[in-house]
C-alpha cells in the first residue's frame, strides 16, 4: 500500500510543480464562472447555510444583495438572505476562490487565471482595498458605491489593459515577489508593485479618459493587496488538478467560512472534512480585542495549501509587524512546515532559508504523525456584520479535520480491498 500512496503523491507533487498559473483576462462572474446564476451567491470555505453563517459572511451577503439591486436597505437584504430565494455554494465548487467572506455575485468582475499546464481555470473577484469592504462583512453605502466604481471603471480599464498586454505568467511574478519580502498572502506589496510595473504602459494605451486611467493607477497603487486576488486564483488553479489524483494523501484545499474550517484531500475528491473554525491569535487594531474577533474566515489559505503564505513566512520578515511575532518566529514557522510537506517547490525559493524551495504538498499522514498543524497568517474580521477588519494574526486548522480525513482515507482503502486484514 505504501508504494501505491507514494506513487500517487509523487503524481500529485508533479502536478503542483508543473503548474503554470497565468492571468489571461477578466470577465463578469455570471458569464465566466461555471454554474453561477442570479439566485446563486458563492462564499468562502466549506458549505454553510444562512442560519449557520457568521456575522461577516452574513454582512457580505447583505452587501451582495444590495449590490445586485435585490434589496435597498440592509434590513430588507437580511430578510432576502433568510427567505430561501437565494442559494449559497462554496466558491471552491465553482473553480473560484474569495478572500475573507469570499462572496461572489453574478455581476461582479473577476480575474481569470488559467493553469497552462493542465488547461483548468480559476476565478477571483478584484480586491476592494482596505477599510470598510464587502469581504470583511461591511455593507454601508460607501461599500456598495465602491463596488459599483469597480464594475464601471476599474473592470473595463483592466480588461482592455490585459487584452493589450497579453497573458501574464503569475508563477514567475510570485517567485520574484517571494525574493522581495512578500509571502503573497498577507504581504503583497512587492507583487502588487511588479504587477503595476507590468500593467502601467498598457493602462496608458487603453481607450479610456486620462481621469479614468489615473483613478485606476491610483487605486492599484493605494492597495497593497491588489495582488492577493491573483495569488489566490494562481494557487487554486495550481492545486485543483491535484483533486483528481486517486489514492493521494495530499491536501488540495483548505478554506474557512467563519463558522467551519474545511479541508479536501486528493484521494477523497470533493468531500469536505470540517470542524469549528478557530479564533485567531494576532495583533488587533486600536480599540479592538480578541472579544471582537470572528473565527477564521476566507479561501485565502489556498496560498498555504500551495506552500506560500504562512508556509513561506521566513521570506517575509516584515509581515511579523502585521501578524505578530518576530522574524525568528517566521523562520521557525517555515522550518516546521517542512515536517508535514512532501517536497520543496522548484519555482518558489526562499532566500532566508538558503534558497530552499517553499514547503509544498501537505500530507495528512505527516500532520497526524507529527501533530504539527499547517500555519496560516490571516486577516481578522469583526464578529458582527457591517464593521470590517479588526486585526491580523496566525491561525491553524483544527486537527479534527485531518483526523476525519485519515479515517475516511483508510475506509476508502478498506472498501476497495486494498488493506490486509
Amino acid at each position: 500500500m505504501q508504494n501505491i500512496i507514494d506513487n500517487a503523491n509523487k503524481k500529485a507533487l508533479e502536478i503542483i510543480q508543473n503548474g503554470q498559473p497565468t492571468l489571461i483576462g477578466l470577465g463578469v462572474a455570471e458569464e465566466v464562472i461555471p454554474g453561477l446564476a442570479k439566485d446563486l451567491f458563492l462564499h468562502a470555505g466549506p458549505p454553510v447555510s444562512w442560519e449557520r453563517m457568521s456575522g461577516p459572511l452574513r454582512g457580505a451577503v447583505i452587501a451582495g444583495i444590495m449590490y445586485e439591486g435585490l434589496a435597498s436597505t440592509p434590513e430588507e437584504a437580511a430578510e432576502y438572505g433568510a427567505s430561501g430565494k437565494l442559494r449559497f455554494d462554496p466558491c471552491h465548487h465553482h473553480d473560484a476562490v474569495g478572500p475573507m467572506a469570499g462572496v461572489v455575485t453574478s455581476r461582479m468582475p473577476v480575474w481569470i487565471v488559467e493553469n497552462k499546464a493542465y488547461g483548468n481555470r480559476a476565478y477571483c473577484t478584484l480586491n476592494e482595498g482596505l477599510g470598510k469592504v464587502l469581504r470583511m462583512g461591511a455593507y454601508g453605502p460607501e461599500v456598495i458605491k465602491h463596488l459599483q466604481w469597480m464594475e464601471t471603471v476599474l473592470y473595463p480599464v483592466l480588461k482592455e489593459t490585459i487584452e493589450i498586454h497579453g497573458p501574464i505568467d503569475l508563477k514567475i511574478m510570485i517567485a520574484q515577489a517571494l525574493q522581495m519580502g512578500d509571502e503573497v498572502h498577507n504581504r503583497n506589496k512587492a507583487a502588487t508593485s511588479l504587477l503595476i510595473r507590468e500593467l502601467a504602459p498598457s493602462i496608458v494605451k487603453t481607450s479610456f479618459s486620462d481621469e479614468e486611467k489615473i483613478a485606476v493607477l491610483e487605486f492599484l497603487n493605494s492597495n497593497d493587496h491588489t495582488f492577493l486576488n491573483l495569488s489566490m486564483p494562481a494557487a487554486k488553479a495550481t492545486m485543483e488538478p491535484v483533486g483528481k489524483v486517486k489514492y493521494s494523501t495530499i491536501v488540495y484545499t483548505m478554506a474557512r467560512n467563519g463558522t467551519d474550517f474545511g479541508i479536501r484531500v486528493a484521494a477523497l475528491g470533493n468531500r469536505w472534512f470540517t470542524a469549528p473554525a478557530e479564533i485567531i491569535d494576532g495583533l488587533y487594531f486600536p480599540g479592538f480585542s480578541m472579544d471582537d474577533a470572528n473565527p477564521d474566515i476566507g479561501d485565502s489559505c489556498i496560498t498555504e495549501t500551495l506552500g506560500i503564505g504562512g508556509f513561506s513566512m521566513a521570506t517575509a520578515p516584515a509581515i511579523v509587524q502585521f501578524v505578530g511575532g518576530t522574524p525568528k518566529d517566521a523562520v521557525r514557522y517555515t522550518t516546521s512546515m517542512y515536517e508535514i510537506t512532501t517536497e520543496e517547490s522548484q519555482a518558489y525559493k526562499l532566500p532566508p532559508m538558503n534558497f530552499r524551495g517553499a514547503p509544498t504538498g501537505i500530507d495528512i499522514r505527516k500532520v497526524i504523525e507529527t501533530q504539527v498543524l499547517p500555519v496560516i497568517n490571516t486577516g481578522i474580521a469583526h464578529k458582527e456584520p457591517g464593521i470590517g477588519q479588526v486585526g491580523a494574526g496566525i491561525v491553524h486548522p483544527p486537527m479534527a479535520c485531518f483526523e476525519q480525513a485519515l479515517e475516511a482515507y483508510v475506509t476508502l482503502l478498506e472498501d476497495e480491498g486494498l488493506l490486509e486484514e
Binding site: 500500500m1 505504501q2 508504494n3 500512496i5 499522514r365 497526524i368 504523525e369 507529527t370 501533530q371 483526523e403 485519515l406 479515517e407 482515507y409 483508510v410 482503502l413 486494498l418 488493506l419 490486509e420
Partner: protein, 58 residues
Amino acid sequence: MSVNNLFTQDLKVINIGLKSFYNDLKSQDVTAIQVNWKPKAGGKKKMLDLLSKINKSN
C-alpha cells in the same frame, strides 16, 4: 573522563518533551534547550492504528 566528573561540572541540559521541566531549569539559570518533541500521533491510539494500517501493507 569518569562519570563522577559530571557531578562537578555545570549542568547543560537538553530537555525532550514536557516544557515545564525546561522552564524550571531556566528559572534556576541552568543552561538548557528545549526539543520540540511529541509522541507519534500525539499518542492517540485510534490514529496510530489508522497509520499502521496504511503503512504496513504493500
